[in-house]
């Protein structure tokens, strides 16, 4: 079915070389970790270059490199442009990162904030949403690894998925957030150079006119500016991205880990660097019709087109870029989800008197367990990447208002936040199943706003930010 452009031997060689590189880096950097702060938050002392690189690399993921082409293939030029609006999430998180660091300089997770700001019930609802999203993202990353290897080399989906999960779990386990951030820096350089090379090769190999004529003839809706589903998708994707970043501990852990006054600048830089990447990644999908490609599953279109037009050397570059992008996100997500489970579930619910040393050890077990659980859930390839990812949109978009209003406004209340998260999620899921994946986050966000504002204002409460306990060391 797949015309492999990278030989299985070369694919395995790349996986082994880069896998060993990341694992060695993880081991080397992990030797410096002595405390829970070191392991979970890289000593809370990350500078601007590493901070910008890790934020950008984490956001360049299977979503960007493989789902952006898929959405372009399915929703046309609006799909491509809409995907790039994911940068707005990073840009808007920039001011929030400064605020988070200011009011919670000693915080560990996004859960810490929700618990202290809204109470235990809202915290638990938030944890369910957050963990559900984390698993959705982890599965999509594992699947993307398998699809990438399969599409470019013909090696089995299961082999590619297993190797990538094993590599990322190993170095995250060995090095903690310090290794994640350091490898993210190298991975960012690889991604940026690779994307520039791919863009040049694509422009040299495909004429714009040929591409336009071919798509116009065989897939006219892809070029239509009045493509209804794509119009609906535009702001859905923006809000989905905002929801992902605002609520996820992946980004909060970075806000805590970055040095004082660094977070805001780092997120602005990373957002601007990220913006063109999905456009480049998505654009190549439009050449599938002119190349006569038989695309079995829409999420394979990116690697397949790259392999076809760029030849073996181009496909090797694509392979390395996507592998780096996957690794840079998978490691971050493993580390941040492990922190959330350790801090909010283990220490918050199961063993409240657990020492830092015990949590440090427990966190390592959790990383292994997460890697294993992700592997099991990736074994049956249940759906396409976009469908899986946007299913979680209904969940995460419901958390946007509780986070924003909770960080800045005294009138936001716990019951308002609970209703917003539950009501938003349910309505988003309803929209997902009854209209399409491209409106789930939008509907969730709208309902969540109504519930958050109306219930909070009815309660007429005034929260005192100075009472946030985690900042006083009462975790």
């Amino acid at each position: 079915m797949i015309n492999a452009v990278v030989s299985p031997g070369v694919a395995l060689f790349i996986l082994l070389v880069f896998g060993m590189l990341w694992i060695t880096a993880g081991y080397y950097l992990g030797r410096k970790n002595k405390t829970l702060d070191d392991h979970m938050l890289a000593g809370r002392n990350v500078g601007l270059a590493f901070a910008s690189a890790t934020a950008m690399a984490t956001w360049v993921t299977s979503n960007t490199t493989m789902t952006a082409p898929q959405l372009t293939y399915q929703l046309g030029v609006w799909g491509m442009m809409g995907y790039s609006l994911g940068a707005v999430g990073l840009l808007l998180f920039a001011p929030l990162a400064g605020r988070i660091k200011k009011i919670l300089p000693h915080g560990f997770t996004s859960g810490d904030f929700i618990r202290e700001r809204y109470g235990v019930l809202a915290w638990r609802v938030f944890l369910i949403i957050s963990l559900f999203y984390a698993f959705g993202w982890l599965i999509s990353l594992g699947m993307a690894g398998g699809i990438l290897v399969n599409a470019l080399s013909g090696l089995s989906y299961h082999l590619g998925m297993s190797v990538i999960l094993l590599v990322c779990t190993s170095y995250t386990l060995l090095g903690g957030l310090r290794a994640v951030i350091a490898t993210d820096f190298v991975q960012t350089l690889i991604i940026l150079m690779g994307v520039i090379i791919i863009a040049v090769l694509v422009i040299n190999n495909i004429g714009f006119e040929t591409l336009h004529t071919s798509v116009q003839e065989s897939n006219p809706m892809l070029l239509s500016l009045l493509f209804p589903a794509a119009i609906m998708f535009l702001f859905n994707n923006l809000l989905f991205g905002v929801g992902e970043i605002f609520h996820s501990n992946v980004w909060w852990s970075r806000a805590f880990a970055f040095r004082k006054n660094i977070g805001t600048k780092a997120f602005y830089i990373s957002g601007l660097l990220w913006l063109p990447i999905p456009i480049v990644a998505g654009f190549i999908a439009l050449s599938a019709p002119s190349l006569g490609l038989m695309v079995p599953s829409a999420d394979m279109v990116g690697p397949m087109v790259a392999g076809k037009i760029l030849g073996t050397s181009g496909a090797v570059i694509v392979f390395i870029v996507i592998f780096s992008a996957l690794a840079s996100s998978l490691d971050s997500l493993l580390a941040a989800t492990s922190d959330l489970i350790t801090q909010d579930i283990y220490r918050g619910h199961i063993n409240k008197s657990a020492s830092d040393e015990r949590c440090y050890r427990f966190g390592k077990y959790i990383i292994v367990a997460l890697g294993l659980a992700t592997w099991l859930l990736c074994l049956p390839r249940l759906t396409t990447l976009a469908s899986l990812l946007y299913f979680t949109g209904a969940f995460v978009a419901s958390a946007i208002w509780p986070i924003v209003f909770g960080l800045y406004f005294r009138w936001a209340t716990g019951p308002g936040a609970v209703a917003a998260m539950l009501g938003g999620t349910v309505s988003g899921l309803f929209a997902y199943f009854n209209i399409g994946f491209y409106v789930a986050a939008l509907v969730s966000c709208a309902v969540s706003l109504l519930l958050m504002v109306s219930i909070s204002l009815l309660q007429k409460a005034e929260f005192k930010f100075e009472n946030i306990a985690v900042d006083k060391g009462v975790t």
């Binding site: 809706m221 209804p228 535009l234 939008l442």
Partner: protein, 141 residues
């Protein structure tokens, strides 16, 4: 009587054989109606020969577009405008069942309703962050 039984048995045999030949290539779609203009066609064939997917907007396949396919798998087709689309797969000796997919995009009024709702939410979000951040900044000053 015996001749009639033999004839009937022979006819039943022929029908069974011919139906199994027709069923040798099975084509299916993941949806009968597509509001997004994309859908997935899947097929299975025992033939082991290259196959041709035929696409037409008429049930009689008067004006066809073709794709060369492997013996087994699926294909994601995309970018269709509103209309009825008919698909079947042929090999040297046989033709599959016909699959019909109706592409009926969402109404533009619905699409723009969601678009403007999204735009409104985005402006509220920007305003909330701007006001919140300004107030916090003033308090700190």
């Amino acid at each position: 009587m015996q001749t009639r039984v033999c004839t009937v048995s022979w006819l039943v045999f022929l029908l069974t054989v011919s139906s199994s030949c027709i069923a040798e290539i099975r084509l299916s779609s993941d949806s009968d109606i597509s509001p997004e203009g994309y859908f997935v066609l899947s097929w299975q064939s025992d033939a082991g020969r290259p196959l041709t997917l035929e696409q037409s907007q008429t049930e009689t396949f008067n004006d066809i577009k073709t794709y060369i396919l492997p013996a087994e798998g699926s294909i994601t087709l995309t970018g269709f405008v509103d209309g009825n689309y008919f698909f079947r797969i042929s090999s040297d000796v046989e033709i599959s069942n016909t699959v019909e997919v109706l592409v009926s995009h969402h109404a533009l009024s619905r699409a723009f309703s969601f678009f403007f709702l999204g735009l409104l939410l985005f402006f509220i979000l920007l305003t909330a962050i701007f006001i919140g951040h300004s107030r916090v900044g003033l308090q700190n000053d």
